[in-house]
């Protein structure tokens, strides 16, 4: 007698033969159409970017030369360069980082590790940080303008002014990404530290923050690369100026690459447009480099626990 006798005759009825008709429900016309639409959406984005890149590259290639890096703006296109703008961008973005990173990381750590979520003001702050990231950049320019006017600064196109505007702009980005990075650190690591008599502050400094560092770095770099490409708030501060000197400090006048590009494209001569395309390539390369670094850091140090 077989060990596996069917318990009831119903079991025979249920024993089915797999269909060999060759028609799969995985590939109905609807599903194929859906996939095609998805590909199309992807293609639109990709082709637009590719055309833009190739076009700019073709336009700007002739001026992607040494003079672009070393020359000062000039009324003669063949002599003009973006040196003050490149240095200005570095000054402003560097100062922005100094202002925004400590503030943003501290705010995120407070919200994530110490703030009592039952208090209404903490919830209010949380909601507003998400809202802040949706505020148009120019509003931050107006805010910085207002703040500078309030303390009686006459010349508003200064490095620290621009950095304040950009720092406020990227603060929500840094706070949100830092919070996510801190939240991703397992609860068990904090418990392990607290259970051997470390204080919450020591635990945050020595365990949580180091473990969250890759995520924080990624968010910070992405925020700074956004600041690098931003023009609107700086235009409002009066960044559209003709400078023939290098910025040399927090209170120095400055212009940045996006503004320089904007100013050149507004010129009637075609040579300036070529120059603008060259500077655009440079700016794009810088932004891509920063984003690439962010991705590298994210992948390199991903989840070591």
């Amino acid at each position: 007698m077989s060990l596996y006798t069917p318990a009831a005759s119903g079991a025979d009825a249920r024993r089915a033969v797999l269909s060999t008709s060759g028609r799969s429900k995985e590939q109905t016309p609807q599903s194929v159409l859906f996939i095609v639409l998805l590909w199309l959406s992807l293609l639109i984005g990709f082709v637009t970017l590719a055309v833009l890149l190739v076009d700019t590259f073709a336009d700007g290639l002739t001026r992607l030369d040494g003079r672009l890096f070393t020359g000062y703006p000039s009324s003669r296109a063949e002599e003009a360069g973006a040196r003050p703008a490149i240095l200005g961008s570095l000054w402003v973005v560097g100062t922005t980082a100094v202002l925004a990173v400590p503030l943003g990381v501290a705010a995120a750590v407070h919200l994530e590790e110490f703030a009592d979520r039952k208090r209404w003001w903490n919830r209010l702050v949380e909601i507003n940080i998400s809202n802040l990231s949706a505020v148009p950049a120019i509003i931050y320019g107006m805010l910085a303008l207002g703040a500078l006017a309030l303390i009686g600064v006459q010349q508003k196109n200064i490095v620290i002014g621009g950095a304040i505007a950009l720092a406020m702009l990227i603060l929500p980005v840094i706070i949100i990404s830092t919070r996510e990075a801190v939240r991703a650190v397992p609860r068990e690591l904090r418990d392990g530290s607290l259970a051997i008599g470390a204080t919450p502050l020591q635990t945050t400094w020595r365990i949580t923050l180091p473990a969250a560092l890759p995520g924080i770095a990624t968010g910070t770099i992405l925020g700074l690369s956004r600041a690098l490409g931003e023009a609107a708030p700086l235009l409002l501060l009066g960044g559209l100026v003709f400078l023939r000197f290098d910025p040399n400090g927090m209170l120095s006048q400055f212009t940045t690459m996006p503004i320089q590009i904007f100013s050149w494209t507004a010129q009637p001569q075609a040579e300036f447009h070529t120059l603008a395309a060259g500077a655009s390539m440079l700016l794009m390369a810088l932004v891509l480099l920063m984003n690439g670094a962010a991705i590298y850091i994210r992948n390199r140090y991903q989840k070591r626990w």
């Binding site: 979520r117 068990e188 051997i196 470390a198």
Partner: protein, 290 residues
Amino acid sequence: MPEPMPQVRDAIEVELEHHQQATRDVPDRPERAVLEVDNVNVYYGDYLAVRNVSVDFGHNEITALIGPSGCGKSTILRSLNRMNDLIVGARVDGPIRYWGQDMYAPGIDPIEVRRRIGMVFQKPNPFPKSIYDNIAYGPRVTGMNVPSMDDHVEQALTKAALWDEVKDKLKQSAYGLSGGQQQRLCIARTIAVQPDVILMDEPCASLDPIATLRIEELMAELRDQYTIIIVTHNMQQAARVADRTAFFTAAIDPDTGERHGELVEYDKTTKIFESPADSRTEGYISGRFG
């Protein structure tokens, strides 16, 4: 016939030893209580999670807390070094005395409590640092006066029966160790701040049988210097390692319909497993519920 794998033979020997250790005789009541839980209720918000628990934990003894899920054994364990403070809304009502002093009294620093009453968790949780730095972390953050950190690290690892396995790779990441080694590292990390009591919350739940036996063997070695309180789902483990066993269960309050954890019976392990006084204990031990 092939020789049994040496590893396996070791494990069998270890288990035999444990059975001998389990018969170690202890007095009917702990002579010196390190921790006295005195009519304690633990709440999460308004919810009474564990009610009316009274236990004395004896010095240099191993005590096991057993019982079905949701019976409050982990809650009580986490109350013993104020780890429950970290859960929003958790509240301990009633004194828990450490050498006679109420650790929940105003003015008592929970950091100080946790330094003396360490904890090892269910899942090994080494820090993302080197093996050496995992051990040195505790002495550093608590400001211990350690004449030589190298010696201190070696001592802690030796006590946790890990030194021989890691002495050549102290600077390597703790994540390179196996699960069982990681758990022994966590025990060494706790030992390094020289606590009095070590709480263990299902320390072998994520380990294989061999690694489990090594931890049990280690517990038996540590008993002479530390007081160990262990929560376990594994009754054989309680029977193997513990001097005393406390059986918890969850009961539904007929008036409110709420479920509360409570202590059913606390006695010498031999008594609990051979002739329990309460029929619920007997039912659980013999596998009729839970």
